[in-house]
């Protein structure tokens, strides 16, 4: 038996971690030992994550963008029994919700390995709540607000994966926060190093809600340039700080970071000419969705700004600064929800939790 067939799995997994996904796939087809290794072990990702977009109304496929080759792929979703809508990335998988259910029902999905799993139903069913993800190992999910019956649901619930198979109550929240989080459904959540979960209202004037998980208290943090921002989104910054990316008329845009004193420090400015290419120069007519049309997806290292998936993207990296990534063609004209995800071909253990 050749020596490469008996190499310790951790070392072999490290070799695979240096390979792009298509090379890993071909390595998997070489022999059973290599297949088992690549399937079972995902070494720490070394390449940049891919941009994954799910059509907002569900569909037969989702789309993945490989930044190394600037290429889009269609990942089939035909193995799903029901359409899903993306909520947030959680580790190397996606947290989604069932599109057909008005009450929130969450599903864990990995479109690369074609695995999915339902999370247990909420203790108090509700429509349109805010969802926050804490990615540690295992992960946790927080649900706050939402509408139930004819009123707003003030109960906050927590699900810790792998611990118990149900949601636990974290007590009530102030009603005004429940209203804000329900009516203006926030998109991404950021779990910051200060122990708080942050969401941002999706309408102007933008404001940020923070839920301190230890003290179980809520607070509001005004967004910078709150009245002028045409679009804004929260991102994780290095050192687990909270970041906010926002743009205004004239191609203006900034990356901010929340400091200890609840003040925003500007970290980077978008060169106006580049910003104009993505979100235009003039203030759009009332009713036109300028703000809604600019998508912002980011993690600690990279921020992507784009209007349509497949068209030109503005990319920011702390060391490299801003650059434009050429668009190919419009990959999807339907509304999409996007997240950054490291492609993995390993069968993830979190899909085998007690169910």
């Amino acid at each position: 038996m050749g020596m490469w067939e008996v190499l310790p799995l951790d070392l072999l997994a490290r070799v695979f971690s240096f390979l792009p996904p298509d090379s890993v796939a071909r390595a998997m087809a070489a022999c059973k030992h290599w297949l088992a290794c690549a399937r079972s072990r995902a070494a720490a990702p070394r390449h940049a994550p891919w941009l994954i977009a799910l059509p907002a109304r569900g569909g037969p496929a989702c789309f993945a963008h490989d930044p190394a080759l600037n290429r889009w792929h269609a990942l089939p979703l035909d193995f799903l029994p029901c359409p899903l809508r993306l909520v947030a990335p959680v580790g190397r998988s996606l947290l989604c919700r069932l599109t057909a259910s008005s009450d929130l029902r969450l599903v864990l999905l990995n479109p690369f390995t074609r695995q999915f799993r339902h999370l247990p139903d909420l203790a108090t069913p509700r429509r349109n709540p805010a969802v926050g993800v804490i990615y540690s190992s295992p992960f946790s999910v927080i649900v706050a607000g939402g509408a139930s019956g004819s009123g707003y649901e003030p109960k906050v619930e927590l699900y810790e994966d792998g611990r118990v198979d149900r949601w636990e109550s974290l007590g009530p929240m102030p009603v005004e926060f429940a209203v804000r989080l329900t009516v203006w459904t926030p998109n991404e959540s950021v779990h910051a190093g200060d122990g708080a979960m942050y969401w941002m209202t999706s309408a102007r004037a933008y404001s940020v809600m923070g839920f301190d998980l230890r003290r179980r208290t809520w607070r509001e943090v005004k967004a910078p340039m709150a009245d002028q921002l045409e679009w804004a989104a929260l991102v994780r910054r290095p050192n687990r700080k909270l970041g906010l990316v926002g743009g205004a008329v004239g191609g203006q845009g900034t990356v901010w970071e929340l400091t200890d004193k609840d003040a925003w420090a500007a970290v980077a400015e978008v060169p106006a000419k580049l910003g104009q290419r993505i979100w235009g120069c003039r203030k759009e007519a009332a009713g036109a969705a300028l703000g809604g049309a600019v998508r912002c997806v980011g993690d600690e290292r990279t921020v992507y700004l784009f209007k349509d998936f497949g068209s030109e993207m503005l990319v920011w990296e702390e060391e490299r600064g801003w650059r434009l990534m050429e668009g190919r063609r419009r990959v999807s004209s339907t509304p999409i929800k996007a997240a950054l995800l490291h492609p993995t071909l390993s069968v993830a253990e979190i899909f085998h939790a007690s169910m």
Partner: protein, 193 residues
């Protein structure tokens, strides 16, 4: 020669090397720190042929920072051109600023990277041994290059070519192999709506 250390390979050969060379292995470094009376470190799991290759690598890297795993800039104290005469604080910020602007440092790093790439352009048997030795001796840069060497042999090749290079027995039926490749065929098809 500075302070040296004696290493004994698995097949009983003795290698005397400078500490700066040997201490790139975190294992050797911690064993030496343990106050051995005869300062002779046995390495039963590495034979002399591999150990001499490992030491060749370490000798080349002895006075450079960890270029691969930390992507560190060369601190100005080690700059071949400035020989420690750089003024200013020696914080990592000024170090990276130094080598970003210092042509001599940039060239030195690139030369080292080139040497490393040549070093691992060897047969996969040797890479396999270097990989295990780097893991056993905990030498970060050698581990990085050995893994890179193996990955290079896989990249862009189809399963049959991979099997030939790595001497792997094909224990799949043709149908099984086809199934696996089919599962990931979407990776080869860029989406054209």
């Amino acid at each position: 020669m500075g302070k040296t250390i004696k290493l004994i390979s698995g097949d009983g050969e003795m290698f005397e090397v400078e500490e700066a060379v040997a201490f790139q292995s975190n294992i050797i470094k911690s064993l030496a720190d343990e106050d051995n009376a005869d300062d002779c470190i046995p390495l039963p799991r590495v034979d002399s042929q591999i150990l001499s290759k490992v030491l060749e690598f370490c000798r080349k890297h002895a006075n450079s920072p960890s270029v691969h795993t930390k992507f560190a800039a060369i601190p100005s104290e080690l700059c071949p051109k400035h020989d420690g005469s750089a003024a200013g604080a020696s914080s990592s910020e000024s170090s990276s600023a130094h080598s970003e602007t210092c042509r001599a440092c940039y060239d030195a790093v690139m030369k080292l990277v080139q040497w490393d790439l040549e070093f691992v352009k060897v047969d996969l048997d040797l890479i396999h041994h270097l990989l295990k030795a780097a893991n056993y001796l905990d030498i970060e840069d050698l581990m990085f290059m050995a893994v890179e060497g193996a990955a290079n042999a896989i990249r862009g090749n189809n399963p049959e070519e991979i099997r030939k290079l790595f001497d792997l027995e094909n224990d799949f039926t043709p149908e099984e192999e086809k199934e696996i490749l089919k599962e990931y065929s979407w990776l080869d098809d860029p989406f054209e709506p």
